[in-house]
């Protein structure tokens, strides 16, 4: 970041190479897999880095700072969305689709996406950061500026909700009990 502050183009190229795809993927997941919007937000994020490199506090983890910026951008977008029409893809998962136990991977992913999309924003963010971006609970707490215990309970809720939504996919009758027991005891 210090090199970027000195207008070192090579340093920026390296930074983008390292984090560009990761942050694009995060936006893609957070913004309902809208590729155009994910591209715009990734651009906005890196433009912020170019124009205000001094905003980065070297005492903090750089990745956590990147995710914090991205999270704030997403929050603004959620507010805009809430003011306008509800996003079309933010609907409940299609429960009418009765998948067999050996469901096709593509259909399984479709159901899983729908279950993740159906989560409230904060829980979706927690789930994505924990299980898709593979961030630790401590990092997520720092990104979301909330206590670690809150993150834990949100992740717990998110997994429980997804498991409940996926229950008919798995065909397991005791799925919710399983996740409830597992997560309450060990998460």
């Amino acid at each position: 970041m210090q090199a970027i502050a000195r207008r070192d183009e090579q340093a920026f190229a390296e930074l983008y190479e390292r984090y560009g795809r990761q942050m694009y993927r995060f936006f893609y997941r957070m913004l309902w897999r809208d590729a155009g919007r994910a591209e715009d937000f990734t651009q906005e994020l890196f433009i912020k880095i170019i124009e205000r490199p001094e905003a980065y506090d070297p005492a903090r983890s750089f990745v956590t700072w990147l995710y914090t910026l991205s999270h704030n951008l997403c929050k603004n977008e959620y507010r805009r969305q809430a003011r306008s029409v509800l996003h079309l893809s933010r609907v409940q998962p299609d429960r009418e689709t009765d998948l067999p136990e050996n469901a096709d991977q593509e259909l399984l992913e479709k159901q899983l996406r729908a279950a993740i999309d159906a989560l409230p924003d904060v829980h979706r963010l927690c789930f994505i950061l924990r299980y898709q971006e593979e961030r630790s609970l401590q990092e997520i707490a720092e990104i979301m500026a909330c206590p670690e215990g809150t993150v834990k309970s949100r992740v717990h809720y998110a997994v429980q909700k997804i498991a409940a939504d996926m229950q008919h996919v798995w065909g397991a009758q005791n799925q919710s009990e399983l996740y409830k027991n597992l997560i309450i005891k060990y998460l």
Binding site: Y24, R25, Y28, A38, R113, A163, A172, L178, N181
Partner: protein, 201 residues
Amino acid sequence: MKEIATLAAEKSFAELDTREREMVLSVTTEADYEQMHRLLRNAASLDARAAPPHALAARLHQHMAEYRPTPAKQPFLRRLSAIRVPAWQAAAAVLFALAIGQWRKTEAPDVVVPAPLVQTIVRTDTVFLEKIKWKERIVFRKSASPMPAGQENISPGFAAEIPQPVPATHFLPTSTPEYSASGTPIGEQPELLQFFTQPGQ
């Protein structure tokens, strides 16, 4: 020990070591663990292939190359102190200021400030206050008329206050003026009578 959810996100049941298997089996069954593993593994790989377009990288590199940061605006005093002038100009300015000061001191006439005239005008005004007092006066008249019949039982104190009729002996003898007819009776004066009466009566 790792959380089971974290473990399920990383390893299938077959990949667990003996200790981990024991731990998992103490809580749930192998099938349930496998389902959870499948869910979290699929979630992790979901949309993992999403990648930004190359045009985005090109645009950002171009922006990085072209962007020139605007200098941050500094406080006025700092900007003022950053101004540099040649020493001779500063010295000339000081000398000029001194000369101007000296010139003003010598040229300025003595201005006598006249004492302010104070004129006092005393005005007296009179205010009349009119006050009207109403008085009510009650006058009692006592009469010496005799008591009407049936009122003889008045209190003795009040009876004592009633003035007694003066006895006739106390009156001085009065002389009745003798009336002497003088003048001419009106009947004897037809002109006078005619004056008081209407003709024909």
